[in-house]
C-alpha cells in the first residue's frame, strides 16, 4: 500500500496515541487535532489523503466538521464513534464519510479502509 497522509481528529489520548502509532507503523504520515476548530484550520493545510474523525468532539462533531470543510475535505473520510446506532451510521454516510467505524474497532478493519483509500488515490486522475 502506498503511504498516505492521514489526518486524525480525536480527543481521547489513548485512542490518538495508538492509532497514530499504528498508522506510522504502516508507513503513513499522521497529522493530529483534538478539536474541530483546530481541524478546520489544519486539515486544508495538510493536504491529507484521508480524514479520520471522531464524531463526538469537544467543540462540535465530526459531521459538522466535514460539512464545514466543504471543498477542502479530503478525498477519503472515515468517521469513528463510540455510538453505533443505525441513525449515526446513516448520518455519517449522508454527510460524506466513506465509512463509519464504531469503537472499539479492530486494526484490520481500519487497514482495509486505508487500502481502499490508497486504491482510490492510485486510480484518481492526476492534477
Amino acid at each position: 500500500m502506498q503511504p498516505l497522509r492521514v489526518f486524525l481528529v480525536e480527543n481521547h489520548e489513548d485512542t490518538v496515541r495508538y492509532i497514530k502509532l499504528y498508522l506510522e507503523h504502516l508507513g503513513h504520515e499522521v497529522f493530529i487535532a483534538g478539536e474541530m476548530e483546530t481541524a478546520l484550520r489544519e486539515v486544508p493545510k495538510s493536504r491529507c489523503d484521508v480524514l479520520i474523525s471522531d464524531i463526538g468532539l469537544p467543540d462540535g462533531d465530526g459531521w459538522l466538521l466535514l460539512e464545514k470543510l466543504g471543498p477542502d475535505r479530503p478525498p477519503f473520510a472515515i468517521a469513528i464513534s463510540g455510538y453505533g446506532t443505525g441513525n449515526d451510521q446513516r448520518k455519517s454516510l449522508a454527510v460524506g464519510y466513506n465509512s463509519h467505524l464504531v469503537k472499539p474497532f479492530l486494526p484490520n478493519t481500519l487497514l482495509s479502509l486505508l487500502e481502499q483509500a490508497a486504491e482510490e488515490k492510485g486510480s484518481a486522475p492526476v492534477g
Binding site: H12, D14, Y83, G84, T85, F105
Partner: protein
C-alpha cells in the same frame, strides 16, 4: 354510629366541612411519601380531600360523587369485625389501625393497613379524620419493589454503557492497536515470539469485538 348510606350532599355539615379541591397539606405530604391518604369529615365520613394515590386505589369511575369515595370505596369493603371496630373508633373519634382490602380500578384486590387519625389542625378543618393506607406485602409493595428493582437495574445498565463508551471502549481500542503493532514488530525479530505476540493480539482483538457487541447491541435503526 355514622349513617354511611346517606348522601353527604344532604348532610347539614357538608358545606361547613367541605374544603373542596383546595390543596390539603397533609394529603400532599403523604403523597410525597408514597402513601395514599384521604381526609374525611368526622361526622359523616364524606371525603373532604384526598391525594392522587388514594384516588388511584378507588374505582372512581363507578363513584362519580367524590364525597362518597371513602364510604363506598373503603368502608363497604371492610369485613364484619373490622367494620365494627371502625365504626366504634369513628364514633369515639379515636385512632385505629385496621386491615382493609380495597377493590382497585384494575379489579385486583389491594390489601392495606388503614391508619385513621384525627390530626391537630386549624379550626377550619379540625372536624376531620385523616386515613392513611399502607399497602401490604404481596400486592402493592411487591409491585413497587419490582418497579424499584427494574429502575435500579436500568440505571446501572446505563451507567455501565456510558462508562464502556466513554472510557473502556477507547482503552480496548488502544490495546488492540498496541498489541498489533508489537506483534508485527516482534515477528520481524523472532518468528516464535512473533507468533505468541500475534496470538495475544488476536485475543485482545476478540475481546475488543466482544466488547463491541456488548456496547453496541443490534438495534432497530441499524437494520
Amino acid at each position: 354510629m355514622p349513617n354511611h348510606s346517606h348522601s353527604p350532599v344532604e348532610s347539614p355539615s357538608s358545606q361547613f366541612l367541605d374544603v373542596g379541591n383546595k390543596s390539603d397539606p397533609v394529603c400532599a405530604v403523604l403523597q410525597e411519601l408514597g402513601l395514599p391518604a384521604v381526609r374525611i369529615a368526622s361526622s359523616t365520613a364524606e371525603v373532604l380531600n384526598s391525594n392522587d394515590l388514594f384516588s388511584s386505589l378507588i374505582n372512581t369511575s363507578a363513584l362519580p360523587d367524590r364525597r362518597l369515595w371513602f364510604v363506598e370505596g373503603v368502608v363497604r369493603y371492610l369485613r364484619e369485625a373490622e367494620r365494627a371496630d371502625w365504626e366504634a373508633a369513628f364514633s369515639k373519634h379515636t385512632p385505629i389501625q385496621i386491615h382493609v382490602q380495597l377493590n382497585s380500578p384494575t379489579g385486583r384486590p389491594v390489601d392495606s393497613l388503614m391508619c385513621a387519625i384525627r390530626p391537630v389542625t386549624p379550626a377550619s378543618v379540625n372536624q376531620s379524620i385523616v386515613c392513611v393506607f399502607i399497602m401490604l406485602a404481596g400486592s402493592y409493595f411487591d409491585r413497587l419493589h419490582q418497579s424499584w428493582t427494574a429502575e435500579g437495574q436500568e440505571s446501572e445498565r446505563n451507567r455501565i454503557r456510558t462508562a464502556l463508551h466513554q472510557e473502556v471502549a477507547q482503552q480496548f481500542l488502544g490495546a488492540a492497536f498496541g498489541c498489533k503493532i508489537i506483534a508485527d514488530k516482534i515477528s520481524v525479530l523472532d518468528v516464535n515470539l512473533g507468533k505468541e505476540a500475534s496470538d495475544l493480539a488476536e485475543l485482545v482483538s476478540q475481546a475488543t469485538q466482544e466488547l463491541h457487541r456488548l456496547v453496541n447491541p443490534p438495534d432497530e435503526n441499524s437494520k
